[in-house]
Assembly symmetry: C2
Homo-oligomer: 467 residues x 2
């Protein structure tokens, strides 16, 4: 077992005393500072760490890790607190390692389409920094998350269908291991067969194997042109058919997002739009001027064949921005449907052939459980969608029905050959579903965790508990 807080508390007290002497004002122990790092966009209760440390560089991280190791003190890396499954909670106490002071771009190699950054930089700050180079970093999970946090949770988002997920764009990591040793996991070579793929092992490890202190990332040339398109469908099935045809045709869409009628309604109200309240596909195309026009038209034909209506596309930046800002605000738009409720953002990913059935069944199930409105949106080019549940924190019965829905949804995704998490990660909230999904594979995962972090100081209690 992970050991409870009390058995660790003597060690933690000593660690804090040593860390306080060494790091002085870089250590915060006030309640607000600690609660801020435990607060994330999740329905799980915050569990603050005993102190917050603000390292300035890799050597300081290594020093902190060694001190924590000596006194059996948990370390919980913190980026911006936008994760959704309790990743930044400190159920066993310990130290929240706030990486916000390590937020520099260390190197941009424009010819090689790569850059090296510190983990605390956010994706928007990175893209601001890159603007003059004509390059951009494409992974966009919605929130302005830190790059380190995005790597740790294997984030993706709206344009993964074209540019991949964090696993695809991280080339090399610098990591401080649980014993305080500093390693690099790769090189700047675009491909490699040099030993175990530690890069991909640390991407998605949720801080449980080490602290990411530098990342080398693939960049992409800013497309010469972008176009955005919207198309309505009479049913979610018809919209999904259009998505399948688009992917099969090989149309290189940069984004293809589904909003169900409930979500369109929420977005209309929140962002002052007047989209017809039908299932909607929202697309973006990247390429040359001629290319994005051709792509939009090709999608138009596909949409026509699958019953799409009122297909519109535009290359006007202001129209594109307005649409995509509305999409990015969808979470808040949904929350606004039932003020005072907690939002639970679910996250399943299924083979695309099962998508229409899965989305429709989820909408039906939410209605059956009296959980409507439960708007749905999805990165449907990848088969990934989110049902947003809006739950009254004072209504025990609604909470129980929400739990019934979650169990049903994740079972359904796993039965369809999919996963209980396309992009949010496991954290504290999904350990039960991970066991259902991968069962026997949990044993080698635990063996790896124990091999790299024998004292279980790196973000303990996340992904799985130890036996």
């Amino acid at each position: 077992m992970d050991g409870d807080h009390s058995t660790r508390s003597d060690g933690i007290a000593t660690a804090l005393s040593v860390l306080g002497q060494r790091f002085g004002p870089q250590m915060l122990t006030g309640r607000d500072a600690r609660m801020h790092r435990a607060h994330s966009a999740t329905w799980l209760a915050p569990e603050p760490a005993d102190a917050v440390l603000l390292p300035q560089n890799t050597n300081e991280v290594a020093e902190i890790v060694k001190i924590c190791g000596t006194y059996n003190t948990p370390i919980i890396p913190f980026g911006t607190g936008t994760s959704l499954e309790g990743h930044v909670n400190a159920p066993l106490g310990g130290v929240s390692l706030d990486m916000s002071q390590m937020a520099s771009v260390l190197q941009v190699n424009a010819e090689d389409l790569d850059c090296t950054v510190q983990p605390g930089i956010t994706r928007k700050a990175l893209n601001e920094d890159l603007r003059a180079t004509g390059l951009f970093f494409p992974i966009d999970p919605g929130a302005d998350a830190s790059i380190g946090g995005m790597a740790a949770t294997r984030a993706s988002g709206t344009n993964a269908v074209r540019y991949g997920t964090m696993k695809d764009v991280v080339m090399d990591l610098q990591v401080v291991l649980a014993n305080g040793e500093i390693i690099r996991t790769g090189t700047r070579a675009k491909k490699s067969s040099a030993g175990y793929d530690l890069t991909r092992l640390f991407v998605g490890s949720e801080g449980t194997l080490g602290v990411i202190t530098e990342l080398t990332l693939k960049l992409f040339g800013m497309p010469e042109a972008m176009s955005a398109a919207t198309c309505q469908f009479k049913s979610v099935e018809a919209a999904c058919e259009a998505v399948i045809a688009t992917i099969q045709y090989g149309l290189p869409v940069a984004r293809i997002e589904l909003l169900d009628a409930a979500m369109v309604g929420a977005v209309n109200a929140y962002s002052n739009l007047s989209l017809p309240e039908n299932p909607l596909l929202l697309l973006e195309f990247h390429g040359s001027e001629a290319g994005v026009a051709e792509q939009a038209q090709a999608f138009g034909s596909i949409a026509e064949d699958t019953g799409g209506q009122d297909f519109q596309w535009t290359t006007k930046p202001e129209d594109r921005t307005k649409l995509w800002q509305a999409r990015h605000d969808a979470y808040w738009a949904a929350r606004a449907l039932k003020p005072g409720t907690e939002g639970i953002s679910t996250d399943v990913c299924v083979p695309i052939s099962k998508l229409a059935e899965a989305v429709q069944a989820a909408a039906n199930k939410a209605a059956e459980l009296n959980l409507a409105p439960a708007p749905i949106l999805g990165h449907v080019g990848d088969g990934n969608f989110h049902v947003l549940l809006l739950v009254d924190p004072n209504d025990k019965d609604e909470q129980a029905r929400a739990k019934t829905f979650l169990d049903w949804l994740y079972d359904a995704a796993i039965s369809a050959g999919g996963t209980c998490t396309g992009e949010h990660g496991i954290g504290q909230g999904k350990q039960h579903y991970l066991r259902k999904e991968l069962g026997p594979a949990l044993e080698p995962m635990r063996a790896i965790k124990t091999a790299l972090d024998p004292d279980n100081i790196m973000n303990p209690g996340k992904i799985f508990t130890l036996g």
Copy 2:
């Protein structure tokens, strides 16, 4: 240390006796059968296993692994024997696990662009099987390797620049672990954040962590059209400049290969072509009819700006096939330059900005060491290239100079921010260079190996030796 053969030999003898009783004609012990599985396209001396086992299904693999585990007997998975760094050798004896009887396509999900196959199927057989679906599996390392072997070595090849490497196209694996347990590492979801990325850990693990018994792979729609192009350059630098401009422009080339003048000469002689003996780029474009013409023309402009000459392109299948067959035969063409010599295919990958310098320096160094002709070819869109050394097995001095060259080449690649292996893997031949490249990262790799295979029965002596 790995333990030498003699300390294991009693166990191996007992294991063979148990395996022989259980598997009868599925076990081969004749010298030819054993030598065949130790023979690969490598300069390393063959080290045959004590027996060859031919499992028919996953349960038989698990049975074999359990018996071998009981008697501390090494297991060396074998695909087609086309690996290059001694991966199929049995330095500590044991059992060669020939996967050729497990070569079926288990499932094709055309709507989802994926399939599930057994590891023994070769890439050509898979593509033959897929022909009627309009889909194809793009990874092409040249040799008609088995899919399981390609995953185990993280293979890639000529069209990785567009379609990625094995790490990008494997979605899920079934693996028999060293303790005989059977796990699945993923699902058919296109993306996932569900726990540690065991899929990517097993891809490239060279059989040292478990035996791959099933693979779920991403497939791609057959392009509507393909075009091939050739362009000569006065220097390797000029050719590399054209490559950099092509990648930066975002031209979605399917293949972009460099042959230096020596390699063009070898190919001319071997394949009866009459290409001018200058550095040559050989390209392939995939897309719509209009798209491949547009891409070829766009490359033509880039080539013109960077001093390309005699740019030619064609969509005629017979011309394309002839050119690419010649490229695929380049290894044998090079070998034919000095009959009776051993071929050593080196394999470095550097950031693309360092490519021209690295290729030119390698050619100079080979000349300086009196190793010419040492033809060079490269998957240059990824910065990956191979210098082919042709070494007389009876000339000790030439062998020593070849060793000097290898040390120099891998040091140079690592110093340039690159890797000692873009696609061949570490095996027995590159352990020294892996230590130079990733140094401190070897410790967590060893810890993972020990955690998953405490008795070191899975392909021992590959990637690294144990402390």
